[in-house]
Symmetry: C2
Subunit: 239 residues, 2 copies
């Protein structure tokens, strides 16, 4: 495996996706059941090997296309590299893992060996894929509080109650609709559509509908303790 002229070691590189969506009130991930060894009948993250003409992000989008309609993926972000020498049996494979999100109003068709699984009740998983899936969940949970990443979980228009369900499911605890509304509004993330949703059979006031102002991820809570002074007191080389 070693190239004597360069001293480099050739190895395989794969990309893996943790595709997350809120379904039936819980955060779920796409897994496919392995038919063959190694780890037959265990569940794996979708992915595959990196080709010569693509970078890792292009690769994960291509690989996903074989499992779900990639146009339904609303956000893709690099998670980390997993490189333990024995992470898969046989020849060495290094993996770059991604967090991908699908908005809740879509239900992409999946191949027969592939299914959604709640992150808090995963089936037996292959290799280090459970670690990767949990890491993706944690990344999403963190980013929900200081970015606008909620747009990637939500349909184009929604009521605050619906959004509250999504946040609650993704975060794993009840979120107050009142505060969710205020926090997102203050940050300028919510735009009223003018439409209202019809009340359910039990009655109640019709809910106003909103959409997210932006559909690209941005940090919305600079959370910067020790932030620059008001006068933008940037320093040059010395001070």
């Amino acid at each position: 495996m070693t190239d004597a002229t360069t001293g480099t070691t050739a190895l395989a590189h794969e990309v893996l996706a943790a595709v997350l969506q809120v379904r039936a009130g819980s955060l779920q991930v796409v897994l496919w059941e392995r038919a063959m060894e190694p780890h037959a009948h265990k569940w794996s993250l979708p992915g595959g090997s990196l080709r010569a003409d693509e970078d890792v992000e292009a690769s994960i989008r291509r690989q996903l296309a074989e499992k779900v309609d990639v146009r339904k993926v609303s956000h893709v972000e690099q998670l980390a590299v997993f490189s333990a020498p024995d992470r898969v049996p046989g020849p060495r494979v290094v993996a770059t893992a991604f967090l991908c999100l699908v908005p809740s109003h879509l239900d992409p068709e999946l191949p027969p060996d592939t299914a959604w699984h709640p992150l808090d009740a995963l089936p037996p998983t292959a290799f280090d894929h459970e670690t990767i899936a949990i890491r993706a969940q944690n990344r999403l949970r963190s980013k929900l509080s200081y970015t606008n990443i909620g747009f990637a979980l939500a349909p184009p228009a929604f009521t605050i109650s619906e959004l509250r369900e999504l946040y609650s499911a993704a975060l794993g605890y009840r979120v107050s609709a009142t505060n969710l509304q205020r926090v997102l509004a203050r940050r300028g993330l919510l735009v009223p559509t003018g439409e209202t949703a019809k009340p359910g059979r039990a009655g109640g006031r019709p809910a106003a509908q909103f959409r997210f102002a932006d559909t690209r991820m941005a940090v919305t809570d600079p959370f910067a303790v020790l932030r620059p002074p008001a006068g933008d007191g940037a320093i040059g080389r010395t001070y």
Copy 2:
């Protein structure tokens, strides 16, 4: 390069380190000057290829040992994968980049072709190494405000003034000693050593010395908008 039995493509994998330290009032990075093509006389991040028996973190620590005394590195953290097909000329090389920090009281010996360079005045750099170095700088700046990562830049004991200099240099703007002291104290990160530093030639009150309570990175500002309710209202499967 393609293995017909698996469909995988073999490629080289390298690890690169952005080793940062506050020196002479500015944040600097270790670079070495390339003697040979490609990119002769341009400056590169230290690193090298991943070996078969090590993961990427073990690899970067081994590679660094050839440039700086690794025992002087106080923090190592994965940054991202850089994988553009043409990021280096010749055979494909995918890189995993790391952020590494050296506390300010140490001055590791460097090989003759290697030197510290301020991040805001980088020399001509090879490949995508400038992007990686700047990404490392941004990661450090973010983490200074919501983690205890300052410990990795600071000597074992320091005065608030000295710590202020470090934070100012790393962040690129003046930081108030008053608020720095209060923020870190409230979070329980600072422990008084009992010692005081002698005033300089201009006189002044002697400064109390402190150390960091922890020397492993931890998130100290949960900054969690939408945090769990006081009663820890975790939800099970449905609600």
